[in-house]
Amino acid sequence: MDKKTDVAEKTTPLETEHILTVPALAPLVAYPLEVLVPEVRQQTPAVGQRATRPDGRLHGLGQTKYIDDWYFPGMLFAKIKRAGVASAKIKSIDTSAAEAMPGVVAVITGKDIPCNSFGPSLKDQPVLADTRVFHAGDGVAAVAAVTEQIAAEALDKIKVEYEILTPVLDPLESLKLETPGVHAPNANIYGHKVIKKGDVEKAFAESYQVFEGTYRTQMVEHVPLEPHATIAMWDPNGRVSIYSTLGRITLGRADVARTLGIPMSRIRMIATIVGGNFGGKNEITTEPALALLSKKTGRPVKCTFTRPEEFYASTTRHPLIMDYKSGVTKEGKILGRKIRLVLDGGAYCSWSETTLAKACILSTGPYNIENLYAEAFVVYTNKTMTGAMRGFGVPQVCFAHESHMDEIATALNIDPLDIRLLNAFEEGSLSPTSQKLQSVVVKESLLQAAQRFGWTANGNGKGNGAQS
C-alpha cells in the first residue's frame, strides 16, 4: 500500500456536514438564555443528551493555540534558576557573568520584586527567593535572553552562595514541637482542624472490637501534558498583559497586583485553553517575574517550564499519614471512629488549608458514625510545594477509610459489600459536620455496581439486599 496516497482518494465521499468552510472556525454555539434551576433529583432534559464539545474541532485540526504557541515580535525567552538545595540561607547572588553574556538582555533576582510574597491564603511564597531557600525548586533568579538556549546557558553563569541548612523532610518530625521551624519563627504546624461528635472513647469501650491502622499516600504530580507557560508584555499606558496557563486568573491578577505593587486595573490576565490543569495551575508561578523582565527589557517575555520543573518547581498533591481507629459491633456496625491526619504541607501553604479542611471533614468516609474525633494537621517541610490537586485531600483519605473498612471486614469475616451497606449514608443522614445530606444514593450505587461486577454471582455477599 502506498502510504502517501492522499486520504481523500481512499475514502468514500463524506456527507456535506463534513465539508469545511474556509477559514476553519468552530461552529457558533447557541446558549439557552433561561437559566434552569432544577429541583433536587428532578431529571433535566440535558442529562443523558450527547453534546459535542465546541473545542473538539480546532483541537483535532491542530489549530488550538496554547500559550506556548503564541509568538510576539521581539519576544524574549526567560528561564528560572532553581536552587537545587532543600534548605539554605542565600549569602550572595552574582549575576554579572550572566548579564555580560551576548544575547542576555536582563536578569532579576528576589530583591527586584517590590513585594516578594504571595499565596492563595498565607502569603508565604516568594516570587524569587531572596534571603532563604525553602525547597529545591525555589527560583533564585530569572534571565531573559534572545533565545531559550542562551537563557538556559546563562543560568549556569549565575553564582549563588548558599549556607546550607538542615532540611526538615519528614512530616512526622515536623509535627514535633522541638523540630526547628521551617519558616521560623512561625511554627511548623500551620493548619489544624478538629471535628468532634459524641464520645468516641465511650464508643470504643462499648465496641465488640477496636481496629487500628496507619495509611500513607505519596506525593503526586499532576503531569499536565502542557507545561506551565507565561508571556508578559507592557503597553505604552503602563498596563501589563499577561498570557498564562493559569487557571484562576482573578486570583492571579490579585497576586500580580500585590507582588508588583500596581493597581489591578493595570493588569490584564489572559488565559486560554489550558493543556491540563487538575489543580496544578491554580496559582501564579513566573508571572510577576516575567512582568518585571518585560518592563526592564521593553519587550514581550515568554517562559515555559521544562518537564523536570513541572515535578520539582510546581505544586503537587499532599502526601498524607493517616491513623485510623474504629470501634465496631460484632456485625460490623461502626460505633466510633478516631482519626489523626498529618498532611505534608511542603515548603509553602498554597492550597493546604482547603485540602486540610476537605480531608478532615471527609476522612470518616460516607458512613453513619455517631461518635467521631478527627484531627488534622498540616506541617511545613522543605519539600516541593503541595497544593491543589483533584480531590483536595479526599482521594488520600478515601484510600485510608476504604482500606480500613476492608481490613475490618476481613477480620470479622464479613463481606466487604455488606459491611459498607450496613454503615453507609442514607437520605437525610448527617455528615460529620452535621450537614443534612440530600440526594444520597450510596447504597443504590454500591448495589448497582455489585450487580454489574457480578459480585454476588461470583460467590460474594450473604444478603442484605444485594441483588445478583
Binding site: Q149, A152, E153, D156, T306, P308
Partner: protein, 293 residues
C-alpha cells in the same frame, strides 16, 4: 541545550574517518536514531563539541544471511527488526524483544546498534543476542574487528569501543541460525517501561534422548551488564527436557544473578523474577522447538 557542530557521514567508512579526525581533539558523540542521545542532551550540561550523524549510512541497514550467519546492520531500527520476514521466521524472540522497547515512535527511530552501544544493563535487545552467542563487528580506521557481544560491555554504559570506532554489524553465528529462543521482559508497565529483569533462553533438543543441547540463558538488569547464566546452563546440558528441570533451572539461574535494590524493585523481587522468567523462557523456547521440528 548548548550548541555543537554537526557533521553528517555518507557511509560507515566516512563515519569512521570523521571519528578518527575529530575524536583526538574534541568531545565527539555519534547520533543514529537519537532516542538515547537527544534525550540525554536536552537536560545535560555535558554537551559534546561535535556530533557525527551516521543515520544516513545505508551500508549499515541490512538484514541478511551471510556465510558467517545472520548479519544485522547497526542502523537497523527496532521496527525494521519487528517486520523483517527473515527475523520473524528465524528468531521470533528478537521480534518480541524489539516490540518491548519504548513505543512505536521510539522504535521507528531507535537502532539495534544504538541500544547495544548505550549499554544499560536493562537493555532489551541484549539478552536474546547474548543467548544466541552473537558477535559484533566493529569498524575502525584499520578495518574491522570482531568481539563476542558478551564481552562488548565493560559495565553500565561502557563498551570496548575506542573513540575512533563504530559498531557496524551484529552477527548471529551460522551454527545458531533457527535455534529456538524465547525472550521475556518484566517491566512496571506494558509499554515505555524499563525492564526490572529480562531473560532470553535458547537451546536445541536431542529428540531421541529428549535432552537439552547447548542451552544458553542470558539475564539482563541483574548485573552491571547482560550476563550468561552459566550455572543454569551447566545444570541443563544433557538433562531431560521436563517442566521440573525447567523450573529448577530457574532456581539455579538465581545464583547467577547479582541484582541490586533500587526504587523500582528490591533485589529479592528481581531474584524471584529471574527464577520465573528463566522457567518461562525455557518453556517458550521448547514450544518453538516442538513447532519447528
Amino acid at each position: 541545550m548548548r550548541g555543537f557542530e554537526l557533521v553528517t557521514a555518507r557511509d560507515s567508512r566516512h563515519a569512521v574517518a570523521l571519528l578518527a579526525q575529530h575524536s583526538a581533539s574534541a568531545k565527539v558523540k555519534v547520533i543514529a536514531g537519537g532516542t538515547d542521545l537527544m534525550a540525554d542532551l536536552h537536560f545535560s550540561s555535558h554537551i559534546p563539541d561535535i556530533v557525527v550523524d551516521i543515520s544516513r549510512a545505508e551500508d549499515l541497514k541490512h538484514i541478511a544471511v551471510t556465510e558467517e550467519g545472520l548479519s544485522i546492520g547497526a542502523l537497523v531500527t527496532h521496527t525494521q527488526i519487528m517486520r523483517s520476514p527473515l527475523i520473524r521466521d528465524m528468531f521470533p524472540a528478537l521480534v518480541d524483544a524489539a516490540h518491548t522497547i519504548g513505543a512505536v515512535q521510539t522504535r521507528n527511530l531507535g537502532t539495534l546498534g544504538g541500544n547495544l552501544v548505550t549499554g544499560v544493563p536493562s537493555m532489551d535487545s541484549g539478552p536474546t543476542l547474548v543467548a544466541l552467542e552473537a558477535v559484533v563487528s566493529i569498524a575502525g580506521p584499520d578495518g574491522r574487528r570482531q568481539v563476542p557481544l558478551a564481552e562488548f560491555w565493560l559495565g553500565p554504559r561502557k563498551t570496548v569501543l575506542k573513540p575512533d570506532e563504530l559498531l557496524a554489524e551484529i552477527i548471529i553465528p551460522k551454527q545458531n541460525l533457527n535455534k529456538p529462543t524465547h525472550f521475556l521482559k518484566f517491566g512496571l508497565r506494558k509499554g515505555q517501561a524499563l525492564a526490572l529483569v529480562n531473560v532470553a533462553s535458547s537451546f536445541r533438543v536431542d529428540w531421541d534422548k529428549n535432552v537439552f543441547v547447548a542451552p544458553r540463558i542470558a539475564l539482563g538488569a541483574v548485573a552491571p551488564k547482560v550476563i550468561r547464566a552459566l550455572k543454569a546452563e551447566a545444570f541443563l546440558e544433557g538433562r531431560k527436557v521436563t517442566p521440573e528441570t525447567m523450573a529448577e533451572a530457574g532456581q539455579v539461574a538465581v545464583g547467577d544473578a547479582k541484582p541490586i535494590s533500587d526504587f523500582r524493585a528490591s533485589a529479592e523481587y528481581r531474584k524471584d523474577l529471574v527464577a520465573v522468567l528463566t522457567k518461562r523462557t525455557l518453556e517458550g523456547a521448547y514450544e518453538l522447538a516442538k513447532a519447528k521440528r
